[in-house]
């Protein structure tokens, strides 16, 4: 009798705790989600309901006119394509060069292996702001390109070209480091067997080891895509030609030039978020793995 009442008390207490947990967790999660919901609803409301007091949450009728406005006022579609191209190029180059170098550092023995890797690792600490101006200078003075002579003078080099974004980021140190750490976890005996059977080093990398790194490639690919898609300052510095602007630049210019057009502004912002959101829904587990990695390893 007595133990039964203690048990039921404990059960009630636990039930109360669970209810409390759901209430608190729901409130916090809703608060974090609210800006998305609010901008989505704004983007679907007629103009007069956007500016209504008190706040009118649900539109009387849903309209897509703001999306049409956003895409006709500025060439958002073009910007979208430019950003997609740059982000995909970033992924392709980083996955290839990152895994190629990462494999060499993890699996092949050569004299300068450790010293070179240490230099790359140390360079990860160099902040982007210090290389920003000289990188611009280097890109502007690449010889024989963009009207430059053999000394790199006279033209604009790679400035204003997509290569100014693709090349400096094509083999990020993080990609090399990340892939190396993954290759280290793979056994060496497959390599030795393949060598005895006469397979070349590139074939061993490409056909035996690379397929085993699919989860790592997925994680790295997602992060590179996200970084490329969301990049803002560097594209703004090197791309002056309006036809080459990225979606982030287009969105910033829109919110600066059309300061009261909140409907199209929210439509544009949501379109700029959408590709990452789709990636996230499809590949959720790789996102979380990547953060845990960068969190644990710095």
């Amino acid at each position: 009798m007595h133990t039964a009442s203690i048990q039921s008390y404990a059960r009630r207490k636990r039930a109360l705790g669970t209810v409390l947990f759901y209430i608190v967790a729901s409130i916090i999660s809703l608060a974090m989600f609210l800006p998305f919901l609010w901008s989505l609803l704004t983007s679907l409301k007629p103009d007069d309901e956007i500016f209504a007091l008190p706040i009118k949450w649900l539109p009387s009728q849903f309209t897509l006119e703001h999306y049409r406005d956003a895409f006709t006022t500025v060439p958002f579609f073009k910007y979208f394509g430019n950003s997609l191209y740059l982000a995909v190029m970033g992924v392709v180059t980083n996955l290839f060069f990152g895994s190629l170098s990462g494999y060499a550092f993890a699996k092949l023995s050569f004299k300068l292996n450790k010293p070179l890797f240490r230099v790359l690792l140390a360079a990860m600490m160099i902040p982007g702001v210090v290389t920003m101006i000289p990188s611009f200078y280097v890109l502007m003075h690449i010889p024989f390109i963009g009207g430059n002579d053999w000394l790199g003078n006279g033209g604009h080099g790679l400035v204003n070209s997509f290569w100014a974004i693709i090349l400096p980021g094509a083999s990020g140190t993080f990609a090399v480091f990340f892939m190396r750490q993954f290759f280290l976890t793979l056994p060496n005996d497959m390599m030795e067997v393949a060598r005895i059977e006469g397979a070349g080093e590139f074939r061993i990398f490409w056909q035996i080891y690379l397929p085993l790194t699919k989860p790592a490639l997925a994680t790295l690919g997602i992060f590179t895509f996200q970084a490329g898609w969301n990049a803002f300052l560097w594209p703004m510095i090197v791309l002056n030609d309006p036809a080459k602007h990225t979606i982030q630049m287009g969105l910033q210019a829109f919110s600066y030039n059309y300061q009261t057009d909140f409907g199209p502004m929210m439509a544009g912002a949501l379109v700029a978020i959408l590709p990452i959101l789709i990636l996230f829904v499809l590949l959720q587990k790789y996102f979380v793995q990547g953060i845990a990695f960068s969190g644990v390893k710095g």
């Binding site: 947990f21 999660s29 550092f105 092949l108 360079a123 920003m132 000289p134 710095g298």
Partner: protein
Amino acid sequence: MFRSRNLHGHQARMAYLFITPTLLLFGIFTVIPVFMAFYLSFTNYDVLSRMDWVGFSNYKKLVGDSLLWQTFLNVFYYTIVFVPLNILLSLLIALLLNRASRAVKLFRTLNYLPTLTSAVAAATVWIWVLHPEYGLLNGFLGYFGVTGPAWLSETSTAMLSIIMVTLWQSLGSNMIIYLAGLQGVPDYLYESSKLDGANAFHRFRYITWPQLRPTTFLVSTMSIIGALQLFDQAFVLTQGGPANATKTPVYLIYQQGFNQLDMGYASAQAFVLALCILAFSLINMKLSRAEEPIV
């Protein structure tokens, strides 16, 4: 013996071939720029015509540049508000969501979503959330009879607005880092403390918090490094204003270098900022090295 050395030589040659693209790009876009940044900071380079050696005059100018020091003060203010709030809130959310159920997965996802947005898109959304008359935040405050400020155009609240946006964007990933940290705390510590009669607060105070110290340190240094490089949100939300209240060092360097084309001076500023960032990166590196040797 001879054969094996030959094999090794072949392997090494292939290895160098494999790392050539990476090293080439690294040389052109990291090594050369780093040395050049140092050189440029002693010149009056302006993109168009001149690049003369001016000695230490950029650095002398920098010492008396009150705008530069104001940007550092702005970032300092940002850091001392942002970093503790970031740790507190992301740890609280992680503690709350450190259990297993399907609903918890949904809650985690909702908290994580803001980290996916670009800084520009987040700032754009928040321009509207913080709108003084029709915005979401002041609308809410209105329900409680409070008249909210014009968040982005008052000097006292502009930086707070940027803090809000960046917090919104960073809590999710720090929550994940803390969740990983919490999973690393061994269960037997909690079990034995329960036997000793410790309550929930004691367990947090004497087990969870000390065990999470490396995680907390890492989150702090990473947030400080991020704060020192703050740009996107300040550029989109407030354009550095009002009255330079939200201008950051990177913002100033960008303007000095690419709007006013005073690249020599901007390089000197960038070097000073880089040294500050480097100091925290070194601390960070030391810590993560201590955790698990990489090389």
